[in-house]
Symmetry: C2
Subunit: 312 residues, 2 copies
Amino acid sequence: MNAIRNVAIVGAGLVGQGWAIVFARAGMDVTVYDARENAEAVIGAQIDKAVGDLAAGGLCGDVSLVLSRIRFARSLSEAVSGCDYVQESAFERIDVKREVSLAIDAVLPAHAIVGSSTSGFPGSAFYEECGNRERLMVVHPVNPPHLVPLVEIVPTPWTAPQAASRVRRLMEDVGQSAVSLSREIPGFVLNRLQGALLDEAFALFAEGYATAEDIDRTVRDGLGLRWSFMGPFETIDLNAPKGLADYAERLGPMYAGFADQRRADRGWAPDAVTRADAERRELLAEQDLDARRSWRDEMLMRIVRAKQAVAD
Amino acid sequence: MNAIRNVAIVGAGLVGQGWAIVFARAGMDVTVYDARENAEAVIGAQIDKAVGDLAAGGLCGDVSLVLSRIRFARSLSEAVSGCDYVQESAFERIDVKREVSLAIDAVLPAHAIVGSSTSGFPGSAFYEECGNRERLMVVHPVNPPHLVPLVEIVPTPWTAPQAASRVRRLMEDVGQSAVSLSREIPGFVLNRLQGALLDEAFALFAEGYATAEDIDRTVRDGLGLRWSFMGPFETIDLNAPKGLADYAERLGPMYAGFADQRRADRGWAPDAVTRADAERRELLAEQDLDARRSWRDEMLMRIVRAKQAVAD
């Protein structure tokens, strides 16, 4: 099997642009196709800026070399026909995903693999009619993929295990952090974990135990400090003398008590959403959201660099 | 009301030692009392080492100045009688908490406030018979408090709001990050949020969707990168064009779907605990847990410094 050298990006909004940077930064040749008017001018300028920001943040070396590896195709078929791997990042609507997947499938080289960036749909919802469906799967990034390395690889019932393993190696080769799901589940792993934490956060807020800002503080100055370099299992593994099973024996009953109390009343109460949004808008006006997003990306770069500085 | 200058630490295991460092580093005079044999020699040496590690990690200036502010008392009454604030960090057993609280209460100066480090008990379970119970509350740190700044302030039904506010200011003055609960709830905020995420992590693992290591990876290379400097509400607030309410409208139904599926089957399945522990022990032998805890503290210092480097 040939090594993956040529990557096609189909659909180049913010997610597709981030993917183009990930692959080009790792030395691959990237061909971008986006159906919108003036795609090359508009998207090219956005990619230029993002790569410049990365370099300023110390996370990318030679800007012009990276950019030189990204070119634009005038048709989907031109982008896909010469590639080894397709990262599909089309608009997140099931009919769009289905149509684009069939178009990719029709011109896919016999050895190539396709990953979809979808966060909301299982691959089985839009790959079923594709002829090459044993080489199609979901490869879900976090936004933006060039800053947050996590990628979820989710096979459909038809995906060949070797194809999923090959994508995992590809992701590791280009510096992403890959997780492999055994089968489909709504929300995959990442959004299910985020959802569980958000459910409890909204419940505590709805019941008036603490402000949204204090709940945020609990995560960013408490739990999240550890979780930025250790997951939940490693965290509890180090927090009891003999490790995880010891922790579960000591504290499992306490945690089970919290869960029992919540079984009947999970979900985000509409009134809580309204009040939490009002509290956020007091802290940050709607017109300042974009500036805060830039701050977030700056912080992400610093944390990523702090993590890189210590070998594990 | 006098400013808080003199702090008594009652019970000086790892948590009490961390508290002594927090207050001494901030310029306060700290008196430590611990009932164990040879308390001063053993505990003094442990504090010396921890402050040295902090300085090596760039998070503490003049080691000898900090250490010079910590002294040991030979009795609880000697420690408490001259202080403005008591941080009780006695052994985590309800009868011990009750006994120590009554002993502190009996010699507490008329203006002084007491915070208990308990993580597992509401203050109402051990403060009821204290004469000064309007000045007693739970002040729950994360371990170790000199590295992780988060502190939960939890009033009992008898705690005066002004006493709780005063402790919040004290915590902010000494560089901790304080959250104020309106009333008691099992697990407070931090462990409830951690428990919600762990429940989902154990469920995904028990059902075979991913390995424990891949679930950990999803947090440390995905969710946790953001959560180390933004909480869950700020994260979703920045992830929709118009903020939190906009995000809830777009994605709330998807998250509600995950929650529905879990209502019947939360909790940590015993078999999943056994298998997750086995997976952790393959990654890290039990005799290597201590070395990995040192690595964790090194990483915590780096992330704390990375956060400090950007003003928000």
